[in-house]
Amino acid sequence: MSVGKRGVLAATGLAAFLLFWEAMPRLGFTSSLFVPPPSGLPLTFWYELSGGYWASSVAASLGHYLMGLTIGTSLGVALGVATALSPRLEVLLSWVVRLLRPVPGLAWVPFAIIWFGISERAATFIIIIGVLWINYYAAFAAARAVDRDFLELAEAFGQGGRWSKLFKIILPGASAGILAGVRTGLGQAWMAVVAAEMFGVHGLGQRMMQASSLLATDVVLVYMVTIAALFGLTDALFVLIRDRVLAWQR
């Protein structure tokens, strides 16, 4: 299929979807409270924007997102690589990991509130948990899969020290796998942000909860689209950076 044809077909799909969505409440199949028509969203967005709610919520959520993502990713990658390199550490942590990993990030909400109150730190904590294990497993598998022959190469050429091996062989060798984990975490973290803020920490999630309690479903929708856009944006940015970092791959 040519690029032009693909574009036309994709646009047709989106248009049909929006048309169907618009038609549902307009033709009386459902109340516009249940399904707010998309044509009303620009105006709602404008109200949110001019009232300052939108910018303030997005800024707050971005703050939680970046903080939680950075800490959770660093922690997960560091732990994953360390475990991959040390059989002793792997065994030591094996049951702890098996116990903690299946617990969903949201199950930590009660503890997050008890430990940190309804605060930014609580939201950040939930996000950290949300991305920690994805990065842990991705980094573990990637570091494990680095060709051991490269380690012999390092030793043969006077680079056999622990840090040389880590920074010149293991981390670059595992970078593709690690970055794949980071990318998955990028999406997970947005889910965690919204969920974490729904219990009252300022941000997109909180604004959505406020709107829904007032049955302002159009406002809820504005923020749903916002999250989708933010996710798309962060993912696109990440892919741009990743492709530059992994330029050596064919």
Binding site: F150, L153, F157, W248, Q249
Partner: protein, 253 residues
Amino acid sequence: MATVVDIRDLTIAYGGGPPVLSGFSATLPERSFTCVVGSSGVGKSTLLRVIADLVAPAGGEVVVPDRGHDEGSRPFALVFQEPRLLPWRRVIDNVMFGLEGMKLSHRQRLTRAQEALALVGLGDHAGRWPHQLSGGQRQRVNLARALAVRPRLLLLDEPFSALDAVTRHTLQGELLRLARETGTSLLFVTHDLDEAVFLADRVIVLGGRPARVTRDFRVSLAHPRQREDAGFIDHVRDLRDALSELMVDGGGI
């Protein structure tokens, strides 16, 4: 001639098992080209790794005469059987790998890496990624990486065995030129008898179980050697006979 390395009564065993190679002794002088031949499993590759101090021998020792402290060179450098280039480094950075452990400025490293690349005829490929090279070119980079550290002894582990015949013959000729130009000694492991006779001035044959040095040939043919010459063919036949005797003796077949 000064000695580059003195290998004394080396025994090689895997993981505390019975020895696969025992009583290996050889003194390699400067500017010498020695080939070690033998069937697989006699510990040829491991021998190189023991000399390079990557693997501990089960017995014996490798003595490197002290030449004073030289920051800019290493006593040994390995050329691997497969190119073993780091795919995330450009060609030039792969060649610089061994120089990074030395007390050299970045400029010095770059210059030496460029020289080594030029030596193997890839001076204009410095900015490429390994995956953009052909098999022969990768093996040249493998060689350049080892030459860049200016080793006194170059250890080569069947470096041309995976190449097609034409590329293999070209690289064999180039290796002789490089040996002459750099003045390094070479210890070259192979199971290709033709290759051994083409390259070496001395061929050490390993065989038996555990393997021992069973023959120690001099190859005194003048360079460049012609594979069609009667002398060349005689040498290869001698070598083949020596190896097939071993097969019968050792029950290797």
